[in-house]
């Protein structure tokens, strides 16, 4: 234990005296998080369901028109602007749609509600026996032209959008028709049977519709902060491969590792001392970067990182990531023959693992083939764990596979390092 503690203290002192190294370990990742989150924020916002901008002129201002407008406003897919434009309103609406300011323009024609009531009454009266045709007292009840809605589309509007708006309008229109029909029948029943119908305006849906996901997991799409903060934290943690590997090679080149080799029982405590030092560095990196996500990014107009209340899970996952990164640094340091080799190979390999692991481009945006490849990267295991915690509020059992993979990776790295050193010293 004393050797392990002495080794850890020694490596911490060396690290604290390497100012350039400290800037690289802590300053660079913070800058990366801020810059990349700002850069990617607009891209992530585009992934969210974008509301369709609609301009409406409601010339009706009665049940029909009001119901259509209120229905469209209540939908999360439409951003509705209602204008009471004058006689030239329609040409102005067309102009605004043509210019792209609005993708859709809707004109609800004047007296639409009145026309609808009249036509519904007419249809109902036509169903009654002739002797009851004057039940509503309208001698001159006749079918009038149908109420109308004119829909103007920007030519670039996708057909799926056109379909969705016409479907929505049909739905609301049908709802109004049914309501008016119900009102007319209520009046009829009152007239014919003396029945006073209650709650004619309380028209409930008769069919429940539920949207469900066909797959086993719900698909949660992270925002730019939820992706970039853990992503670049993981990237920074794995970048300790450069100083850690460099430290190991420097000891070898200076003869220190030869000296240590001759000292009985010093190998493992020395390696573990390095692992523990850089493990601590990784944990501090993670805490500081999560703090940036929580306190600094909102000041730049970005969403705040919500880490939930599963602090223990977050700590355990972060510890597993830090261990994996330290192990990787050790194996690179042991197997490289020079500082140049370790820094070039170390940095490029981390960049590649980050790229395929979903750090640069989130996994859900990759092709199917690349998603499979991505599952081989330790950085993917790490970011998957963070997604589970931040987006799905996962419990310990759910992140255990990620932690197990990361810890296993650490053990494999240490085992390979030990074996490689043994082979090299024997040869």
């Amino acid at each position: 234990m004393s050797k392990f503690v002495a080794s850890t203290i020694k490596d911490i002192k060396l690290l604290l005296r390497d100012r350039a190294g400290l800037v690289m370990l802590f300053g660079m990742p913070i800058a990366l998080i801020i810059i990349m989150t700002l850069l990617q924020d607009s891209t992530f916002r585009a992934l969210e369901e974008k509301k369709l901008p609609i301009l409406i002129i409601n010339h009706d201002q009665d049940t029909f028109g009001i119901t259509i407008v209120e229905g469209l406003k209540s939908s999360k897919f439409f951003s509705v602007t209602e204008e009471f434009i004058d006689v030239e309103g329609i040409s102005k609406l067309k102009e605004k749609v043509r210019s792209g300011e609005f993708q859709i323009g809707i004109v609800i024609k004047k007296n639409s509600s009145e026309l609808l009531r009249n036509n519904i009454k007419f249809n109902i009266v036509n169903l009654l026996p002739p002797e009851d045709s004057l039940i509503f007292g309208d001698k001159s009840l006749s079918l009038m032209k149908n109420p109308g809605i004119d829909i103007y589309f920007d030519p670039i509007t996708k057909n799926s959008f056109k379909q969705s708006i016409t479907s929505a309008l049909n739905q609301y229109s049908s709802g109004v028709e049914a309501k008016i029909m119900f009102e007319v029948y209520s009046a009829l029943l009152k007239e014919l049977l003396g029945l006073e119908m209650r709650n004619t305006s309380d028209f409930r849906n008769m069919v429940d519709m539920q949207t469900l996901f066909a797959g086993s997991d719900e698909e949660f799409v992270p925002n730019s902060v939820q992706h970039n903060v853990p992503a670049w934290t993981i990237f920074a943690m794995f970048f300790i491969v450069i100083p850690l590997a460099g430290n190991i090679i420097k000891e070898r080149e200076s003869g220190i590792s030869t000296r240590l080799k001759i000292i009985a029982g010093s190998n493992m405590p020395v390696i573990l001392g390095k692992v523990s030092t850089y493990f601590i560095v990784g944990m501090i990196q993670a805490v500081s970067m999560l703090a940036v996500g929580i306190f600094i990014l909102p000041l730049l107009g970005l969403p705040q990182l919500e880490i939930g209340d599963n602090y223990l899970n977050l700590l355990l996952l972060t510890a597993a990531v830090s261990l994996a990164a330290s192990g990787y640094g050790v194996v690179i340091g042991v197997m490289s023959t020079s500082q140049e080799q370790s820094s070039i190979f170390g940095s490029i390999s981390v960049v590649i693992l980050a790229a395929i692991g979903g750090i640069w481009v989130p996994v859900f945006m990759m092709s199917e083939f690349m998603q499979v490849v991505s599952s081989l990267s330790p950085l993917n295991w790490a970011i998957g764990g963070y997604y589970d915690i931040f987006l799905r509020n996962a419990d310990l059992v759910e992140i255990l596979p990620n932690m197990a993979l990361l810890s296993g990776f650490f053990l494999i790295c240490i085992a390979v390092s030990w074996y490689y050193r043994k082979i090299r010293s024997e040869s």
Partner: protein, 248 residues
């Protein structure tokens, strides 16, 4: 037990080479002797010393240190030996005290023993006042002295030194060698390699001259001078036996 090191038919062939770096060496070094291992560049001195301090595995042969076979008692023997490498194997960004504390703990030393031993050695070698300065600020001579202290901090029974005085001034060299003599008189067995013939002649009880992996001469320096008529000192004997041709 009077023998510190016993080497029997020691041979070393490096991988993928035909030549033997060490070719069937036999050697016996009594306890409490300062033994010089001399030879031109590439003769096999460092390979021999590396095998003695368990850094390299022999191709064949047997090494006994303090009565124990090295290959079978590695950890036990490593606690009894010390090594002062030719490289300044210290952490540049740590102070002298920090280096000594670290290596002392690696040797298993702690507490007052480590503190007292460290302070004592720093005082002996004139480094006490600069012990809290980083090694990177030290002169060559100061680095060599700290390098030596690191090797003897745990007071080993057998000490191996590889060119301990290379590149330093006379004052530093004298301090180092005289202290090594003191340790030798106290019973430490010292094996050291050097290119400084006059140093070997002055301080070593016995020497061996190695060339092309084999011991070509060994004995007490004075007796060797008498033996090789026409040679006034060890350097002339060395040149006589190894030749004047430049080595790689």
């Amino acid at each position: 037990m009077s023998t510190a090191i016993h080497i029997n038919s020691l041979t070393k062939r490096y991988k993928d080479t035909d030549t033997l770096a060490v070719d069937n060496i036999n050697m016996e070094i009594p306890i409490g002797q300062m033994y010089g291992l001399l030879g031109p560049n590439g003769a096999g001195k460092t390979t021999t010393v590396s095998m003695l301090c368990s850094l390299l595995r022999p191709t064949s042969g047997k090494i006994d240190i303090l009565g124990k076979e090295l290959s079978l008692n590695l950890n036990e023997i490593r606690k009894l030996i010390g090594v002062v490498p030719q490289d300044i194997a210290l952490y540049d960004n740590l102070t002298a005290i920090e280096n000594l504390n670290f290596f002392g703990r690696m040797y298993g030393m702690k507490g007052n023993l480590l503190k007292e031993r460290t302070n004592e050695f720093l005082k002996i070698f004139g480094l006490a006042e600069k012990s809290d300065q980083k090694i990177s600020t030290y002169s060559g001579g100061m680095k060599r002295r700290i390098n030596l202290i690191t090797g003897i901090l745990h007071m080993p029974e057998v000490l191996f030194l590889d060119e301990p005085t290379v590149g330093i001034d006379v004052q530093s060299r004298t301090v180092i060698m005289e202290y090594l003599m003191k340790l030798q008189k106290e019973g430490m067995t010292i094996v050291y390699t050097s290119h400084h013939m006059e140093e070997a002649e002055k301080y070593c009880s016995q020497i061996a001259i190695i060339d092309q992996g084999s011991i070509i001469e060994h004995g007490v320096p004075d007796e060797l001078v008498k033996k090789h008529t026409g040679c006034a000192n060890l350097e002339e004997i060395f040149l006589k036996l190894t030749g004047r041709k430049l080595r790689d």
